[in-house]
Structures are given as C-alpha cells and as structure tokens.
Subunit: 202 residues, 2 copies
C-alpha cells in the first residue's frame, strides 16, 4: 500500500518506531524511506535534511516523555525527583541520548515549566524559579549526557544525587535571601516596625 | 634536517604547536608528519593511532594549564575560583574543548588534587573532599563543554556562577553535618555530656 502523501506526523511516528526497534544507528533516510514505502528523494523533499529529521525525532521523543516527578510534594522533594526522573528517562533511552546534542536542550522546556510551577507555588519569585529551572535542567542534561557518552567511575549515581541535593540547598538559601529582601522592602510599612535584618546589618 | 628518531615528547610538543597555530581541524597525521619531516607511516608507527595522538595532546595540554585559583583563600572562595579558572581555561582553548571528550575527564585529576588539599586544610574529611572535588570537576567540565559545543542563551556566565555558588552552599552543609556527626561520636566521652543533637532526635 504505497502512500501518495506523507504527513510530517506519519514520518516522525515511523522514525520513532525505527529508533525504538533499531537504535540510533538504524535511523537512516534509507531505512525510513523503505519502511514508509517511498523513495529516498521523496523523503528528503518532505523533511529537508537528515539533521532536521533527527532534531524533530528528539523533540517529539521528549514531548512524549512522562516525567512522573513528585509535583505535589514540597519543592525540595519535587526538585530532586524532577532531576532524578529526567536523568532516569535519559538513561532509559540511550539511543535518544546518542542523537541528542546539547543544542537540543530547549526540548525540555515544557518539563522545566512544570518544575517552575512547583517552585513558584512554594514561594520562589518568578525570576528565581526561571533561574533554578534552567540550572537544574542544564546540570541534569550535561552530566547525564556526559555519563552516557563516557561510562565509568564518574557516572556513579550517588555523584549525581549529591550534586542535586547540594543545588537544592543553594536554592533554599537564595529563596530565603530573596524573601528577606522582599520583606525588608515591603515589610516595614505593613508591620510598622523597622525591618530587623537591616537594623542589625553593620 | 630530517630526524632519524622521534621521541614521544617531540611529537606531542609539535602537536601542541599545530593545535595552537592551526586549530583542532589542522591537527592531522599528515600535517604533523610534514612538520616533523617524517612519513605518515613512521608517525603512525610511533603514536599508534590518531586517537592515541589526540588523547595524548589533550592530557599534555591539561598538564600545562596553570589554574591560578585562590588556593590561599578560605575554602568557599578557593572552590569557586577553582571552578571559574577551570571554565576560563577551557573557554580560552576552544580547540582543546573540541578535541576533548568526556572520556578525558581524568586529565584534570592533578588539578582536582590541589583543590582537595584546600578542602582538607579547611576541615573537610578526606572522603567528602574526594566527593566534592569530583562533583565540582564533573559539573564544571560537563557544563562548559556543553556550552562550548552549543553556544546560546544557556551559556550565560551567571548560570554557571550561580550553579557553583549553590554547590558550595551544599558542600558547607555537608561539611557541617560531617563534623557534627564526628563530634557526636568523639565528643561525648571527652566532655562527659551526652551529645545534644542525639538526645533531641526523635
């Protein structure tokens, strides 16, 4: 049953199946064209280039990832579980990691927004939540892709777990400082007392 | 003046000069053989393979890097400056970053030892200093190589600076916990009082 017209959706769905069944090395224009029963030329015309195909596959694979992180828990727990889940999802999809370049970092943006929502719910200012979401995503992706590319003693899971725990401590301190600063500015008129911290500062 | 015998030192010295003058793309067996006035075959026989040549060049380039970090300052300042200096050295040598793979992480080990010495001087237990040195190196290398490979909004230097600052906060907490635990174990018999923290734990 030859297909007269190939939708982008059909192409990328098939490409994801190829990736799942044959791995990153199996994902070629030739293989994909054969499975879609079209010529290599037709497929090139539809997707533009192999590079575009790969970037689209990575973006779609990420959009489908379910990061079942603990969004209802306190932000510290939620943030740690978000990083752990993202790392686990990457480790479970080594072929995706092989195809993924650091230029693909933006594909996690929807997942980062879900984490940011938890942080803002628990008192992070918006700009701090943006910063923290970016840092947790950057560190998780960089370290995990590194570990997948070069397995060895550096990829001990405890190294990653401690890294995330330390970042969460730092986030807690920044959050507290932000809120103190905000309290200093906003608090005095409301309470009628001078802000304590400022009075004690030398 | 043809050279009858090529020492490994002479080969790698010349390779580092090629890297400095012509960049990563210029470092080929052919170029290097021409500059050393030997045949490609002779050079292959000497170094084994292009891969071995590149790994050797990276290791030597790293051994020569002077990380002028603030080793005499308090550990928090020293650790931040170590990460900043390592990142700056990498950013100043983009050709080295191109050649470097994550498998080359062990080439920083001498630099990590210098950082660990500062941490142990300032009260970190040895195992915690090992852990912290490894994490700071891993995060700095992973993030910086990522940023070099894919420049863009994620490589804002403030992102890296905040990441390191947060890690240092986490290290401070772990150091304090370690020392409290140690005090609990060692303190009671010396002071004759039960360790407070333990008594209050539920």
């Amino acid at each position: 049953m030859p297909k007269p017209l190939l939708s982008a959706e059909a192409i990328f769905d098939e490409a994801l199946r190829v990736l799942a069944e044959e791995g990153a090395a199996g994902l070629t224009i030739r293989t994909l064209a054969a499975r879609l029963r079209c010529s290599n030329k037709t497929l090139y015309q539809q997707v533009g280039s192999y590079e575009v195909l790969v970037r689209g596959v990575v973006a779609r694979a990420f959009a489908r990832l379910e990061l079942g992180f603990a969004a209802d828990a306190a932000w510290e727990v939620a943030a740690e579980s978000w990083c752990t889940e993202l790392r686990a999802a990457l480790l479970a999809n080594p072929d995706l990691c092989t195809l993924m370049t650091i230029a693909d970092r933006d594909v996690v943006i929807d997942h980062v927004h879900r984490l940011m929502a938890v942080l803002e719910r628990d008192g992070f200012h918006h700009s701090r939540a943006v910063e923290a979401g970016g840092i947790l995503a950057h560190v998780t992706l960089s370290m995990t892709l590194s570990d997948v590319a070069a397995p060895g003693e550096w990829d001990d899971p405890r190294v990653f777990a401690t890294t995330v725990r330390w970042l969460v401590h730092g986030m807690a301190l920044s959050r507290a400082e932000d809120n103190l600063r905000h309290h200093d500015r906003a608090g005095s008129p409301r309470t009628g007392r001078p802000a304590r911290r400022r009075r004690n500062a030398s």
